[in-house]
Symmetry: C2
Subunit: 224 residues, 2 copies
Amino acid sequence: MLGILTLRGPSMPVQKASVRDQIRRTLTERILAGHYQPGDRLIELQIARELGTSQGSVREALRELEASRLVESEPHRGTRVRVVSLCEMREAYQMRGLLEQAAAITAAKAFKGSVGSLRDEVQAVLRAAEVGDFGEQAAHVYAFHRAVVGASGNGVLLRLWESLAFETRVRVRLGWGPIDPKQVAASYEAILTALEEGNGRVAGRLLREHSGKFAPVSDQLDAD
Amino acid sequence: MLGILTLRGPSMPVQKASVRDQIRRTLTERILAGHYQPGDRLIELQIARELGTSQGSVREALRELEASRLVESEPHRGTRVRVVSLCEMREAYQMRGLLEQAAAITAAKAFKGSVGSLRDEVQAVLRAAEVGDFGEQAAHVYAFHRAVVGASGNGVLLRLWESLAFETRVRVRLGWGPIDPKQVAASYEAILTALEEGNGRVAGRLLREHSGKFAPVSDQLDAD
DNA sequence: ATCACATTATCGATAATCAATAATTTTTCG
DNA sequence: CGAAAAATTATTGATTATCGATAATGTGAT
């Protein structure tokens, strides 16, 4: 039993690995990695037997995934990987832009003069793009934006932003074509400069525009 | 058993009343109504026995409440009603303002010339305020803002906004003092006028300012 | 072909049970 | 007495087995 619980690095302190969390993590990985495709059914007992757990634990994990909108379920019809529509993705990108713009306003204070860690992420993005490692690329893009939003110091803002993670991450897997590294570099460079100067207003605007570049529709909500 | 399932209005169509949902609804009501105070423990078997359900169903309901951030839990230490800090509430109000501003930009198109339903809600708010019925007042305030956000036509935006419901609703129960009806009326009247004219830009700005009036801290994120 | 009916897979839910852990109480001993 | 140690209790985390309800599928009769 407990085929999942095998992993636990040697240097890991006392990580509580509840069965429920392990299941959730495993399923999340599989969904984000594309092992389970959108629309695929997730059958409780099947998963339970595969992972060596009980049906109840799987149910709980599925409820959590449903809450974070990775899956959806109908009564007596089971749970399946959620299908994110193009429309919803556009909306999510709009919102991400809006939130990041707001985040930048205050985050700029934190980054003024020290954008080293951010620059590292951008470098990593470009390196990954050259090699063609989309997973790595997406991870560093995520890390960059998350760092900015996190630096805003607004926990609620961060939570809202993170709740968009699924919608804005599927994009990569849909393969809307490779990104021009030059364009990306230029865009990020401008943002970095603004942050370094502590100019949150400009950084925010640039981040919002950046978000717009990756969503194929005009941004209707721009208040400026 | 199933002491909860009694209710089901005569005109109700075919409402699926899963046990889990019933538990969730019951607990949500009790939390919002203040029957359970912030910090109170929610003991699984206790609730299960009281409602005549199994422990498992209560667990699932609690996981859902945790996802919507009404409660929080630590391993082996149980689940309790979440305590929303003043800081978090301020952040939530900031975010609510940001989202509503964005919503107004597009919602204005939908309301141009026909703000009747919105005006009704404002009237209801003032009426409730006169009578001193805070519950009713809060409900209509909620309905007004929700209508605006809903009219934006952006589902993701609506979802984000609704996820702030808890944080921005506790406020009423904390009783930050009664609100001056005149001030409220004037504020809403200006918003209505802007929406009626289809001027989303102005309506958005007013909504954001409105939100600021109810949060006791200067709004740092205003990009305009 | 299509409708009615049976079959099957799966979900929704329950009960009974057990180990692990946290909180509480009691005991022991300096 | 008062603090450390030990025992007790309450509750969670998780399992197994089981049942009825429901949706999907298959099958046969007309």
